[in-house]
């Protein structure tokens, strides 16, 4: 028994190396952007105006004057549905993206999608519970818990990704201990491991208009432009007054903001 286990232990790394090299080869073949025939573009707004961090002041629904300083969110588990109902599921381990306002590169998702006529895009805002509990070596890129903290999108005291972060200054707030009139919304929570807890993962479904289906071909690039409206965080199902809730992090109230962000996205245009 001892020897059998030892043997297994001996060959497991070899097997892992083989799998990883294959996975690596697969990723490498996809590095060339010319292969990508679909661009999903996230354009961040506050209401009708493009979102510009730290420069512009925006008026919220409650008349609050807001200067956003940070706006980031995870988009994952993308699925494209064809006109005939068939679905293309983006390979699960390559389906995690951190969109950061102010970093143009991060706002563009490039995919290689089979040719066809597409009518719908689904994704989730956040990181699914399965990936959130996987071994750390399965969480690379934007999900690397040892590197992701530099983007401040991970809680180490309560293991889990922060799905969306919205911070800024609000004229109506008193000066806090950092000497600023600052609000901080850090929304996360995948539902808990051994006991049910907050689940702020939200599904987003964007159907394309019938006269504007997405036609994808092998060598022709198509683009889906999506509006992400930060003002909706404060004005979806729940009207959120920043002055009353300047800090929303891991707590029951975060669920209301999550319900709001599920309607934050809308389709701007489809082009090909």
């Amino acid at each position: 028994m001892l020897m059998k286990t030892a043997l297994k232990a001996k060959f497991l790394p070899l097997f892992a190396i083989l799998v990883f090299s294959l996975a690596d080869a697969y990723c490498q073949s996809n590095v060339n952007n010319d292969d990508k025939n679909l661009v999903i573009l996230f354009k961040n707004f506050f209401g009708d105006k493009p979102l510009e961090l730290e420069r512009l002041s925006y008026k919220g629904v409650n008349g609050e004057q807001i200067i956003p300083t940070e706006f980031k969110y995870f988009v994952s588990n993308l699925v494209l549905t064809r006109f005939d109902g068939n679905r293309y599921i983006v390979p699960q381990n390559q389906s995690y993206f951190l969109i950061k306002a102010g970093e143009d590169g991060s706002q563009k998702i490039l995919l290689n999608v089979p040719s066809g006529k597409y009518a719908k895009l689904d994704f989730i805002l956040g990181v699914d519970s399965l990936r959130s509990t996987m071994d750390i070596s399965e969480r690379t890129g934007a999900l690397d818990v040892t590197g992701g903290m530099n983007d401040g999108m991970y809680w180490t005291w309560n293991s889990g990704y922060i799905f969306l972060k919205f911070e800024g200054l609000c004229e109506q707030l008193p000066v806090d201990f950092t000497g600023q009139k600052k609000f901080r919304y850090h929304i996360g929570g995948f539902g808990g491991v051994d006991k049910q807890s907050v689940n702020n993962i939200r599904k987003v479904e964007l159907s394309f208009p019938h006269d504007e289906l997405l036609l994808l071909e092998e060598r022709k690039q198509g683009t889906i432009a999506i509006k992400a409206d930060a003002s909706k965080l404060l004005s979806g199902k729940t009207n959120v007054k920043i002055a009353e809730h300047p800090q929303v992090m891991f707590g029951a109230y975060s669920g209301l903001i999550a319900d709001n962000y599920s309607s934050m996205f809308s389709l701007i245009s489809i082009s090909h």
Binding site: L7, G147, M149, T156, S197
Partner: protein, 343 residues
């Protein structure tokens, strides 16, 4: 005949591989322990990885100003706790708000920290490394510092087959080392393995333990890993424990049941280190329980609040608890900072 040769050749290979894979000091499950919870299949615990993890555990470059290591606050002679500190004491003399728990038998932990906010050993070390009141450093800086020191490239090469340093490798190596911090050589363990016998008094204490303590402090790890409100007064410390993680009001003032192994080396006790010795703890259970809506039902009985214990029983219980002290664990050379396998 040829088949026989082949069979013996395979047998020799088996023996060779088995011998190489199970060197001393690498993780082994004690015979009287259950199956580990840590997913060992995701972290091959080789001698080389443990050696790298040990070096990193005692490496001050892991802190912002290069002054403290994991080992600074988790001292082996105190069963890897911060001896004499009620609450943890970190960088720049900053104080945490809870007592630093021992690093022992972590392979059997379902969750980590007093409130169970972390569910995987591989996610645990990130917390003290980045916490502003502990080591206050970023993994990005640690990688740069380790790469610049040149001391580590061979260690990473041997442990991972490449000199390249990454955050995930640092964490996996730290986990590998911490997994070898197994305490299973207390007198209790040798009694369970029929290698020695309890004295009369220890035996009486063991009987009282099984009757009055084992429901939470389950053998052989001496914790069931659950979260309970054990009736500590929250008059001065507002820390509400587990509820911060689950947001369930029923979890208010609940903390993880700590193991009773190595009590002689891990004082003070409780999540905020409020009790200086075991006598105070026993006094708390027999006469000091504060009632609140989430108090553990085992401590709220119609006829008595807490656990009734006569002074004779306390004496016997203490005698048994001493059999959970593992001197081998706190003196094992392979867990110490200066271990040199070549010597």
């Amino acid at each position: 005949m040829k088949g026989h040769h082949l069979a013996s050749l395979f047998f020799l290979m088996f023996v060779f591989v088995a011998y190489r894979q199970i060197p001393s000091g690498v993780f082994e499950k004690p015979v009287n322990f259950p199956k580990p919870i840590y997913r060992i299949q995701n972290n091959n615990i080789s001698r080389e990885k443990v050696a790298l993890g040990r070096a990193l555990f005692y490496e001050t470059l892991l802190s912002r100003d290069n002054t403290i290591s994991c080992g600074s606050c988790h001292v082996q002679s105190s069963a890897f706790t911060q001896h004499g500190h009620d609450i943890s004491h970190g960088i720049d003399d900053r104080l945490g708000n809870r007592n630093s728990p021992p690093i022992m038998n972590l392979a059997w932990n379902r969750t980590f920290f007093w409130d169970g906010g972390v569910f995987d050993l591989d996610l645990q070390a990130l917390s003290p490394i980045t916490n502003p009141v502990e080591m206050d450093e970023k993994m990005e800086n640690i990688i740069a510092k380790l790469s610049a020191s040149h001391k580590y490239s061979e260690g990473f090469q041997l442990a991972f087959g490449s000199r390249e340093i990454s955050g995930i490798k640092v964490i996996k190596a730290l986990s590998a080392f911490m997994l070898t911090c197994v305490s299973s050589d207390a007198k209790y363990d040798s009694v369970m393995r029929h290698q020695s016998k309890f004295t009369k008094m220890e035996k009486s204490g063991f009987r009282i333990f099984r009757q009055k303590c084992a429901a939470c402090h389950a053998e052989p790890l001496f914790t069931d890993g659950s979260f309970r409100n054990n009736g500590l007064s929250n008059k001065f410390n507002p820390d509400s424990g587990r509820v911060a993680i689950t947001l369930d009001p029923k979890d208010r003032y609940k903390f993880r049941v700590p193991s009773l192994r190595n009590l002689s080396f891990t004082l003070p006790f409780m999540h905020d280190g409020r009790f200086k010795n075991i006598d105070q703890v026993l006094e708390h259970y027999s006469h000091g329980i504060s009632d609140s809506p989430t108090l553990d039902p085992l401590l709220r009985r119609a006829e008595f609040m807490g656990i009734p214990l006569t002074s004779k029983e306390k004496h016997e219980l203490k005698s048994f608890l001493k059999t959970l002290d593992d001197r081998h664990f706190i003196t094992r050379k392979d867990l110490s900072e200066n271990f040199n396998p070549k010597r």
